[in-house]
């Protein structure tokens, strides 16, 4: 037995030396390349050199399209290539924002933009609010010692793994006139409801479906946040006689706030960008009851035989600006609460 253990130990040592040898060889090769480079550019500029590949990818695929989009927003006409498009300055923005009464989309030049903006506002408010609340509740429950905790964690996370198109199609089959839900209603003696034909029903379902599809991801983040809170704080609270509600309010919530801010920012960005699930589920209808801004951009720029790239780009720039301001605001509030906590 002892002899066998010695053989295993020797083999392990041999493999270890082999791996070390390869590592040293590789590092020497990298050193051969890096040392003259470092001498050439200097120590301080090496950081930029390491960042260069990532910066290049970022510039080509993110920064350049953003700049191009701003340029498109100042041009007009049906031509696709920038050099063929006449410059019109702020005309597209003026068109978007020309309204006699901003509370009534019918008085706006681009009424569908304002309907989409209003719908997006409603969607973001209820979807993000609902998402954070339900995710937090689910995380709190899953953080306790409940039966089959691992199974339930998987169940709540499973919809996140599905493609948004699959999610929308499944729910479409459930909600349509001859769908599963109406079949159940009828079998229980009720009247079928045209869920996707009424504006308020359609919006409610769109919010519900997107919460169902995405809450697993946010639950997971919040669960990680909950598990990082030291148990000693709860023990200390228990000694001081705090109730469950008090320990949630004075221990869990403040310590979870940084994680909550991350969840809030991510959920907000995702909600404003919402397209695929809604597009497949309702197509923005009935009428324009569930038309969101990203779908408006898509339909104006790409979903028509006569695309209006300039107007679509102007909407995109506007949406980006609003999103930037909202994110900065959230981060500022988040930092404020962190400082308060410290």
């Amino acid at each position: 037995m002892a002899a066998r253990a010695t053989v295993v130990q020797r083999a392990a040592a041999l493999v270890g030396r082999g791996v070390e040898g390869v590592y040293v060889l590789l590092m020497n090769a990298v050193g051969l390349l890096m040392e003259p480079l470092q001498r050439l550019v200097g120590m301080r500029r090496m950081a930029w050199l390491f960042l260069l590949p990532n910066l290049l990818v970022f510039t080509i695929f993110i920064l350049f399209p953003m700049v191009l989009n701003v340029y498109y927003a100042t041009t007009s006409g049906p031509r696709l290539y920038p050099q063929d498009r006449p410059f019109v300055g702020t005309a597209n923005f003026e068109r978007l924002f020309t309204c006699t009464d901003y509370t009534n989309p019918n008085t706006c030049l681009e009424d569908r933009f304002w309907r989409a903006a209003r719908n997006t506002g409603v969607f973001v408010l209820f979807q993000v609010g609902g998402m954070v609340a339900i995710s937090l509740l689910t995380a709190l429950v899953l953080n306790r010692k409940v039966v089959a905790r691992g199974f339930f964690r998987s169940v709540f996370f499973y919809p996140v793994l599905l493609s948004p198109v699959v999610v929308a199609l499944i729910w479409k089959w459930i909600l349509q006139r001859d769908g599963v839900l109406n079949a159940m209603l009828v079998s229980l003696g009720g009247e079928p409801i045209n869920f996707l034909l009424s504006g308020s029903w359609a919006m409610a379902w769109v919010i519900m479906v997107s919460i169902w599809a995405n809450m697993g991801f946010y639950t997971l983040i919040l669960l990680a946040g909950l598990q990082s809170i030291p148990v000693e704080l709860y023990d200390a609270g228990a000694i001081d006689g705090t109730s469950t509600l008090q320990s949630f309010r004075h221990i869990t919530l403040p310590l979870l706030m940084p994680t909550m801010m991350v969840v809030l920012v991510l959920a907000l960005i995702r909600a404003v960008q919402m397209f695929d699930e809604v597009f497949v589920l309702t197509g923005g209808g009935p009428g324009s009851a569930t038309l969101l801004l990203v779908q408006y951009i898509y339909q104006t720029g790409f979903g028509t035989q006569n695309p209006r790239f300039g107007l679509a780009a102007a909407t995109s720039v506007t949406l980006g600006a609003v999103l930037l301001v909202a994110t900065l605001l959230q981060l500022r509030i988040g930092r404020g609460s962190e400082r308060h906590l410290a």
């Binding site: 696709l80 045209n194 923005g284 790409f302 006569n306």
Partner: protein, 424 residues
Amino acid sequence: MSRRFRFIALLAAALLLYASAAAQVELRLTWYDDGPEGQVMRELLDRFEAENPDIRVVMDTVPYATGILQSLPLQLASGEAADMARVTNLGGLSQYWLDMRPYLSDPDVWEANFGPFLDWMRPEGSDAIPGFMTQLTVTGPFINRTLFDQAGIEVPTGETTWEEWAEVTRQVADATGTPYAMAMDRTGHRLAGPAISQGARFFGDDGHATIDDEGMREMMQLMVDWHADGTMDPEVWIAAGGGYAAANEPFINAQIVLYMSGSWQVGQFAELIGDAFDWEAVPNPCGPAACTGMPGGAGVVGIADTDHPEAVARVMEYLAQEEVLAEFYGRTLFIPGHLGLAESGIDFVTDIESARDALNVFASEVPNLHPTAYALQAYPFNFVVFDTMRDRLTQVYVGELTLDEALERIQADIDEVLREEGER
């Protein structure tokens, strides 16, 4: 045979194979299917490839709404489209079509057989030959005859009106427990025929699209009323969101009594309905101004950006031959978009009596098509008109706009696109 000789022979064969593959031109054809026509086209192309081994044609079959209506215009604008495409927006995208005239062996044959339809495909004032018609279409209603029989209600004949059809199909639906009396494809194109029948003129004195008149108001109000009282299937126009939607599935599933669509559905109905129930096409109902549907059609066009214009022209010349097209129209049950074949007649390959009768009904509708319907079909911006009519009218159904506001918006939408296109 020595080993060296065998090696050299093998190498020579491989080189020959490689050389022939390298010399072969690959063309791509963007295609969509209404019925079985893709399969027929593939068989015809297989025969072409057997006779012309230097050309290979790959068919990329895409959905009509997303692939042809939405993606293709962008692919064309960015120069990324295929070499050929089957399209319905023949005039609106004509700047992207290939003029095959310099590559055709006999352009006069094309002018003689496709002349009137070539005008739909070419830019104004041009004599370009961009392609040929895979079908001529006429819009019109289909009815489920079995539901009429079950209800014991006579099918209206002679000069009928849309209002009469709405009334009688409601009675049939009530008597048979059918969910809805009528449905219409979600597009302004299908609505245009009935609107012209009611007196819609579509064009102002300056030749530009002008929408608001009594005829248009009358037809739109009928549509609004039919959606409000449950005559029309709301799943098609209201629940479909923003885009084209067909109502063929509820008709095939006997969930509607009357379906306003067009001749291209005949092949599909013959295949999918079979003998499940009796269906037939009926003449377009009348209004005070006409009894018209809309002409239309689909064509295969060459794309100007192709690297192989001569090869494209060779494929097109093969497909546009009278005997090849006769087989295509005959097997797909499409109305011929070829004047010679229209005159000589097509031997439609079907045992289904309903399909033959329906084709005859649609053929007999051609003389009734109103001049405004032809003018609208040839109008390069007709898709702008159709799309905004569809979307704004849906907003009226759901209460977002009044009919007056919708008509104002339709005109504003058209004017804005024309302004961006530099047409106004």
